[in-house]
C-alpha cells in the first residue's frame, strides 16, 4: 500500500482532465440538449493547432494563445453555427449522429494533414518532483491537477456568483421564461459553447505532453469523460467534476490492485452499476418526463 498516495495523486491528475472534458458534456447538454460525441476529438485537435503554429515559427506561448483562440472559433462558434443549429431542428438523435460523423471527420483530417504517427508535445509544467508527506510527487501531476481545479472552480464561480452565470443557468433551466425576463438566451448558449471549447483546449494543453499528440488520442479520452459525466450526473456540473475525479482514481487503483489487463472493464462495470441503481448519476437530479 506504500504507493497508494502516488496512485491517488496520479489518478486525481488524470481524473481532473476527465472532469474538464466531462464538464463540457454537461454544459452543452444543459443549455442546448446536445450530446457531443466528438468531445474526445475536440481535446485532440487543439494540440495539433498549437503544433501547427509552432511549425510555422510561433513560440510556444504564442502557439498556446493561437491554439486556444482557434479552438474557440472552430470548436465553439463554428460548431454551434454550422452543425448544432441546423441539425437541432431535426432532433437530438440526428444531432448526436452528426457529432459522431464530425468526430470521424476531425480524426481523419488530422491523420491526413499531419501524420498517423504520434508527435511529441512540450509541457507547460516543468519536469521534476517535490516532496509531499515524504512522497516524491511529480510537478507535472500537481500542475495538471492545479490548473484543472482552478479552471473548474473558476467556471463554478462564474455560474454561481456572477450575473452572467445566473443568466446562463436561467437560459439552461427554462429558456422560455429566461427570454421573458430579458435574458439573451442565444448569446448565453453561444457562451456555453465557447466555454466548452476553452476547456477542451486547456485539457489538450495539459494532457498531450503525457499522452503525445496523435490523431486517435481523443477516442479513449472522450469515452472516459462520457462515462465520468454519466456517473457523476449528466445534468450537473459538479457531478461531472466528481465523476471525472472518481473515474481517474478508480482506473488507477483498478490497474494497480485488480489487474492492468482488465482496467478498462472496471469503469464500465461501475457505469453499469450506477445506471442500474442511480440512473440520474451520483450527484445528478432526477428529471421527470411528462407524457
Amino acid at each position: 500500500m506504500s504507493n497508494l498516495f502516488d496512485l491517488l495523486v496520479a489518478g486525481l491528475a488524470t481524473g481532473a482532465i476527465y472532469a474538464l472534458v466531462a464538464v463540457g458534456f454537461t454544459l452543452l447538454w444543459q443549455t442546448s440538449q446536445t450530446i457531443n460525441f466528438a468531445q474526445g476529438e475536440f481535446v485532440m485537435l487543439p494540440a495539433f493547432l498549437m503544433l501547427a503554429a509552432m511549425h510555422a515559427g510561433a513560440p510556444f506561448w504564442l502557439a498556446i494563445i493561437l491554439g486556444i483562440l482557434l479552438s474557440m472559433i472552430l470548436l465553439g462558434l463554428a460548431f454551434k453555427l454550422l452543425l448544432v443549429d441546423p441539425m437541432m431542428r431535426h432532433g437530438v438523435l440526428p444531432l448526436a449522429i452528426a457529432t459522431m460523423a464530425l468526430a470521424i471527420g476531425i480524426k481523419e483530417s488530422v491523420k491526413q494533414f499531419f501524420s498517423a504517427e504520434a508527435s511529441p508535445f512540450p509541457s507547460i509544467v516543468p519536469t521534476g518532483d517535490i516532496s509531499i508527506l515524504g512522497h516524491a510527487v511529480s510537478l507535472q501531476s500537481i500542475g495538471v491537477l492545479v490548473v484543472a481545479i482552478v479552471a473548474v472552480f473558476g467556471l463554478t464561480a462564474l455560474l454561481n456568483r456572477t450575473s452572467l452565470g445566473h443568466q446562463m443557468q436561467a437560459a439552461a433551466q427554462n429558456p422560455t421564461v429566461a427570454r421573458i425576463i430579458g435574458v439573451p438566451v442565444e448569446r448565453m448558449i453561444l457562451l456555453t459553447f465557447l466555454i466548452n471549447a476553452f476547456l477542451v483546449a486547456l485539457a489538450s494543453l495539459l494532457i498531450t505532453p503525457i499522452y503525445l499528440a496523435k490523431f486517435s488520442s481523443g477516442e479513449v479520452l472522450g469515452q472516459a469523460a462520457f462515462i465520468a459525466a454519466i456517473v457523476g450526473g449528466f445534468n450537473q456540473v459538479r457531478g461531472a467534476i466528481a465523476g471525472g475525479l472518481l473515474i481517474g482514481v478508480l482506473d488507477n487503483l483498478a490497474a494497480a490492485y485488480v489487474s492492468t489487463q482488465y482496467r478498462a472493464a472496471v469503469p464500465m462495470i461501475f457505469l453499469i452499476a450506477v445506471i442500474l441503481f442511480r440512473p440520474q448519476g451520483l450527484m445528478g437530479r432526477a428529471e421527470e418526463r411528462t407524457v
Binding site: D6, I210, L212, A255, A256, T260
Partner: protein, 376 residues
Amino acid sequence: MKSTILAGALLALATATSVHAQAIKLADVAELSGGGATVGTNWKNGIDLAIEEINAKGGVLGRKLEVTHADSQSNPGVARAQVQKALDAEPYVLLGPGYSGSVKVTAPLAAEAGIAQIMGGEAAELTQAGNKFLFRTSFGQQSSMPKVAKYIHDEMKAKTVAVVWVNNDFGRGGRDVVVKELDRLGSKVVADLSTEAGQADFAADVGKIKAANPDAVFVYLNEEESARILKELKRQGVTAPLMGETTLIGQKVIELAGDAANGARGHVGLTTDAPVDLIKAFREKFSKKYNYVPDHNGLKGYLAVYMVKATTEKMGKVDAKKFADTLHGLTIKAADEPGILMDVTFSDTGDIDRQSFLVEVVEGKQVVKQVLPKVK
C-alpha cells in the same frame, strides 16, 4: 545475303534466350506502399544493391540474378495474392514480406510450392510452426531474448527484474522467452506487468514497478507506448536501469520521449551504426546509391540476397528444391562471403544466430556500447 541475315538473327535470338534462361529468378513481395512503406522500400533497395553488386562481379555460379518486386500494400491479404502470383512464375527463392502478419499468411504457400522464403518478420511463432522453407534475415524473439536476459543478469547484475510487456502476439512472445531465460539464469521477476496496445496512461504500471523496487526494468512495448512509459518512469523517479529491444531505443521513441529516453539500453540485431567494417562499408554504398541512411530493413534485404548467393555456391548448383535443406544448419563466414557482413549460422528452424549489439541512448542518440556474441 538473305540467308546470312537470317542466320545472324537466329544466332542473336538463341543467345538472348540462352542468357535469359541462365538468369536466376528471384521474386520479392514487400511493403512498398501503405503503413509499412518505409520497411518495404528499405528492404527492396537493399535487395537491388546486393543484386547489382553480385551481377557486377559475374553473378552466382556464372549466372546473373534477376528480381521482380511486387507490392503487398502492407496488407496481409494483398501479400498473399502477390505471393501466389509470384510463385506461379516459379522463382528460385521468394524474398519477403517484412511484416510478420504477412509472412504468417504467405509462408504456407511457399512451403506448399517447395520454395524457400527468406523474410523480414521477427515474431517468434513464425519459425515455430514446423515450416521447413522459412528463413529469417534477423533475430526472432527466441534468439534475441536470451541475449537480453543474459545482459540483464551478467552485465546489469540484476537479481530482481520488473518485466512490462504489451499484451499482443509480439509482446507476449517476447515476455514468455525473457521470463523463462531470466528464471534459468537466476534473476527473479518481481513484477510481471501486461499493458494494452495503445495505452495512454502508465501511472499505475510505473507505480507497481516502483513498489516492486527491482534492480532492472525490462520494457517490451510498441514504440509509442515505449515513449509514454519512459516519460512516466522519469516522472515517477524510477532510477533502476531500463533494458529493452529495438522498440525501446529506436529513433522515433527517442524523438517522442525526449530526455526521458536517455540512459535506456536495448538489444538490436542489426544497425547501420554497428562498429563492424563491412556494415560501415554497406552503409556508405547504400547511402551513396539512394541518398539516405538505411534502417535495419535495408540490411535485411541486402543479407537476403547474399544468403541466396552463399547457399547456392555451397550447393554448387541452382536447385530450388535443395535450397532449404542446404541453408538449414549452414554457417556462412564473413571472411568467405563479405556480403553476409557478419558470421551467421542458420538453425534447423530457419532462425539466425550471429553477433548483435547493445545500444544505449546518450543525449538523444543511439550509441553502440557493446557487441554481444553469438548465442551458440
